[in-house]
């Protein structure tokens, strides 16, 4: 397994958890204090902290410290890699399914010509 691949694996795994997806979605609006992040999730700061560590490990977020406050910021690159992979295959199969439609139409026309 190459390094790029294992990064992608980490990003996929980190984003597989619904709470972590909610954290990431919240961060798309900009930098946020960890203490503010914890409030809407109905869970302890400790639990949120664990999720943040997973996101950090996957390179999806960056934490900075200002005094006693921890701030979180989203890092877009790993997300783009995940999205690129899925959208590539989505596009590929959509194109093939369209080609199948054209093929079936042509088949029908040639049958009509013969009859």
């Amino acid at each position: 397994m190459n390094i790029a691949m294992s990064n992608l694996d980490l990003a996929f795994a980190a984003l597989a958890d619904p709470t972590r997806r909610r954290i990431v979605a919240k961060l798309t609006r900009g930098e946020i204090r960890v203490t503010d992040l914890a409030l809407p999730f109905d869970m302890s700061l400790n639990a949120v902290s664990k999720h943040i560590k997973v996101l950090e490990g996957a390179g999806l977020v960056r934490r900075t410290r200002v005094g006693r406050e921890h701030y979180l910021r989203l890092r877009a690159q790993p997300l783009r890699e995940v999205a690129r992979w899925t959208s590539q295959y989505e596009r590929f199969w959509t194109q093939r399914l369209d080609a199948l439609g054209e093929f079936l139409n042509q088949q029908k026309e040639s049958e009509n010509d013969e009859s």
């Binding site: 984003l15 990431v24 490990g57 899925t86 295959y89 989505e90 199969w93 399914l97 093929f103 079936l104």
Partner: protein, 144 residues
């Protein structure tokens, strides 16, 4: 080392679908008849298929930058309802992914649903996380 829970299996999956003006047996045959598969699936490139469980296929798809080999083996062949095969290409890093296609009759039409799962690690992708692709799209749109 982080452990992967069941939910972690979700992301490795995409689903697409289309409705065709043809009955399921005709749509199904387009996947399993060698000449048909060569014409549309392999984009006119080399195609060698043996559509029975355990049978193998090879598709040499011509793209602008050369031929892209795709190959795999058929897992389930249940005409005209279900077709399932493994899928290996450069994009799967040589690993087996799984393509599952369902054909449902709607009057004279066929609703085809295709799911591509198990990437990039075939141990993953067996569970579905609803809205995953939508989530990513929304995210990327916001980040752009």
């Amino acid at each position: 080392m982080m452990s992967l829970n069941e939910n972690a299996m979700g992301p490795f999956r995409i689903s697409v679908g289309k409705i065709y003006d043809a009955p399921p047996d005709r749509v199904f045959r387009a996947w399993t008849d060698p000449a048909s598969a060569k014409a549309w699936l392999a984009m006119g490139g080399d195609a060698s298929i043996d559509p029975r469980p355990g049978g193998l296929f090879y598709l040499g798809m011509p793209f602008e930058n050369g031929t892209h080999p795709h190959y795999g083996r058929y897992l389930r062949v249940d005409a005209p309802r279900l077709l399932e095969f493994t899928w290996v290409s450069e994009h799967t890093r040589g690993k087996e992914s799984v393509v599952t296609i369902e054909f449902k009759a709607h009057g004279k039409q066929t609703e085809l649903s295709l799911t591509h799962a198990g990437l990039p690690d075939e141990e993953m992708g067996r569970k579905h996380t609803v809205g995953w692709t939508h989530f990513l799209d929304t995210l990327i749109a916001r980040l752009a």
